[in-house]
C-alpha cells in the first residue's frame, strides 16, 4: 500500500528547492533551487494524472481495451516545463550580466538596491 506517498515525495522535492532558495547565497544556486521547486511541482502535477494500471494515452499501437491514464496533467506539465525553460533562460541571462558587472556571484555582494 503506497497510498499517496508519491505526492508527499513531490512535496519533499519542493521543500528541498525552497531550502536552497532560502539559505544558499550563490545566485546560480538560487536558480538551481528554483529549478528543483519547479521539478517538484511538475512531478506533482503529472502524478495527479496517474491511474493504477493505466497506459500512456496514445491510441497508436495501443493494446486493446487498456485503461489509460489521465491525459490533461501531461499536457499541463508539458506547458509548464517549457515555461520553466523560458524563465531559467532569462534568469541565467541576468546572472551572466550581473557577473559581468560585479565579477561575483555572491548574493550578499549583489545588494546595490537596498534600503
Amino acid at each position: 500500500m503506497i497510498g499517496n506517498t508519491p505526492f508527499v515525495v513531490c512535496m519533499v522535492l519542493v521543500l528541498l528547492g525552497l531550502w536552497a532558495l532560502l539559505f544558499r547565497r550563490n545566485l546560480i544556486k538560487v536558480v538551481i533551487g528554483i529549478k528543483i521547486v519547479e521539478n517538484g511541482v511538475n512531478l506533482y502535477l503529472v502524478a495527479t494524472g496517474y491511474v493504477r494500471g493505466g497506459i500512456v494515452p496514445i491510441y497508436t499501437y495501443a493494446p486493446p481495451d487498456a485503461a489509460m491514464v489521465l491525459p490533461t496533467p501531461q499536457a499541463l506539465t508539458l506547458t509548464s516545463i517549457v515555461i520553466g525553460l523560458a524563465t531559467t533562460a532569462l534568469m541565467l541571462a541576468f546572472v551572466v550580466v550581473i557577473h559581468r558587472h560585479k565579477k561575483t556571484l555572491d548574493g550578499r555582494k549583489v545588494t546595490e538596491l537596498s534600503g
Binding site: 503506497i2 508527499v8 525552497l18 533562460a89 532569462l90
Partner: protein, 88 residues
C-alpha cells in the same frame, strides 16, 4: 532577517505542504475524472488525433499552448534584450 524566523516559517510551510500531499486522494485513483475520460474517448473523433496528449495540447487546450509559445518568444526577446550589444 532573522534566521530563526525563516526557519520557523519554513517548518510551518513544510508541515502544511506535506499535510496537503498526505491528505490528497490516493495516488493512482482520481476521484473526479469526467474531463479526462471525455478526452480519452473523444479525441480521435473530434480532433482526429490518436495521441490524446497532443490533441489536448493543440486542440482542446490550444490557447494554453499559444500562451506557452508566447512565453518562449518572450524569453528569447528578453534574453536578446539583456545580452544585446550596446553601441556606445
Amino acid at each position: 532577517m532573522r534566521r530563526w524566523t525563516v526557519l520557523a516559517a519554513f517548518v510551518i510551510v513544510a508541515g502544511s505542504l506535506l499535510l496537503g500531499g498526505a491528505r490528497m486522494r490516493p495516488f493512482g485513483a482520481p476521484r473526479h475524472d469526467l474531463m479526462d475520460r471525455y478526452f480519452n474517448a473523444w479525441s480521435q473523433t473530434e480532433a482526429a488525433t490518436s495521441n490524446v496528449v497532443t490533441a489536448i495540447v493543440f486542440d482542446y487546450r490550444g490557447y494554453d499552448t499559444l500562451g506557452e509559445a508566447t512565453v518562449l518568444f518572450t524569453a528569447v526577446i528578453g534574453v536578446a534584450l539583456v545580452l544585446r550589444r550596446l553601441k556606445r
